[in-house]
């Protein structure tokens, strides 16, 4: 554990879902204080206990409501389905001022989930920025990571492209990527989120076409970003 981790606590809104719980597990494993948020406090407590039991004493994972989790943490990660994206952000936005929001949302529109269909704002992350307003840095990351291997300790063979409203916020988010045991790349401004969110639809289509379950991407030809 280093100084950054001692200072940082992470809220995972929607942390009872597979992706959120997997990320929460990895951050708790890395020594961060993790607050799991959910619309159901009961489910949040249960998810936190599950992770705490896996990691044993010395880890710190607590379940609570989404707004309470957002209030407690320095960095707030949102991992809800797109249908709950706006409502969840509206419910917590007062707690986000001065913080970094990391949006994991992919704006899939069933049934055509392998076709890119972005909201009017351009992407879910840009929509999030519109909702939370000034004083909140918004990054987008982890949209292409299959939840499957987050809660075992396997290597995840997929890089994380990080977009966001400032270079500093992207750098902070890349630290979280690395803490989760993944390789992160600065993928540029928030306008580039359409690429990373849309890539999830491309990967879903590749899984369908090629019979795979967890297609991902890696960046080549650019050396090794620190993992």
């Amino acid at each position: 554990m280093n100084d950054d981790q001692l200072l940082l606590s992470i809220a995972v809104l929607g942390g009872t879902g597979k992706e959120g719980k997997g990320l929460a597990y990895r951050w708790a494993r890395a020594g961060y204080r993790v607050f799991i948020g959910s619309r159901s406090e009961e489910k949040a407590v249960a998810a936190a206990q599950e992770i705490q039991q896996m990691l044993g004493e010395g880890s710190s994972v607590v379940g609570m409501s989404n707004p309470a989790a957002a209030k407690e943490a320095n960095i707030v990660v949102i991992t809800v389905p797109y249908s709950a994206h706006r409502d969840t952000l509206e419910a917590v936005k007062e707690e986000l001022k001065g913080k970094i929001l990391v949006d994991v949302t992919v704006p899939l529109v069933p049934p055509k989930v392998s076709t890119v269909q972005m909201p009017a704002a351009g992407s879910a992350a840009q929509e999030a920025k519109q909702i939370v307003g000034e004083g909140v840095e918004v990054c987008a990351a982890f949209q292409n990571i299959s939840h499957e291997h987050l809660m075992d300790d396997a290597d995840v063979e997929c890089d994380v492209l990080v977009t966001g409203t400032s270079k500093d916020a992207r750098a902070e988010t890349i630290k979280l990527v690395q803490a989760a045991g993944l390789k992160g790349w600065d993928a540029g401004p928030i306008e580039n989120s359409v690429v990373v969110e849309g890539l999830t639809s491309v990967l879903i289509g590749i899984n369908k076409k090629y019979g795979s379950t967890h297609a991902g991407i890696t960046i080549t030809g650019a050396g090794n970003s620190p993992k």
Copy 2:
């Protein structure tokens, strides 16, 4: 050379540019009949002669105007800068009926070339489809491939994501990818082109940030698509 190649001829519009000439070289090397098109017939002839000299007898590369090249070929590839995209398509669209158009264009808007900025149609490929109209299948591919290693015989460590207006057209385009010595993936409908075109801006940004010159991507976790 197999039956497909005997039947197929490829026009490369804008084939005097680095990307187009590199692709033309690789297809001629694979045994396809290649027509290099340019606004300048003189430059087209010079580029064709250059490739012909590299490959020697038995290869077939001819230079001509863009419309003449489009008329001769079964498959038409457009590799012009975005600023010449519309005019080039308008000049050849009558020659495209019943054919496949493969669009390599990335709609970069200088000076912010590492920020995704798509045209109103959603992507350059969707704009191409609007211009060429009914009776032409439009695919998009090769936007993420650095021209650097196309004209030597080095392996290119970047996969090609192929989007397009039909599954059959994407399958035909993937054959061209493979003929060029690259690995191709069906990346879904033409609406997904924003991801692949936009990825070029992300890769330009990664090159700038991480000091590389030819960042690319590979698809992981989905087995080996045939190369």
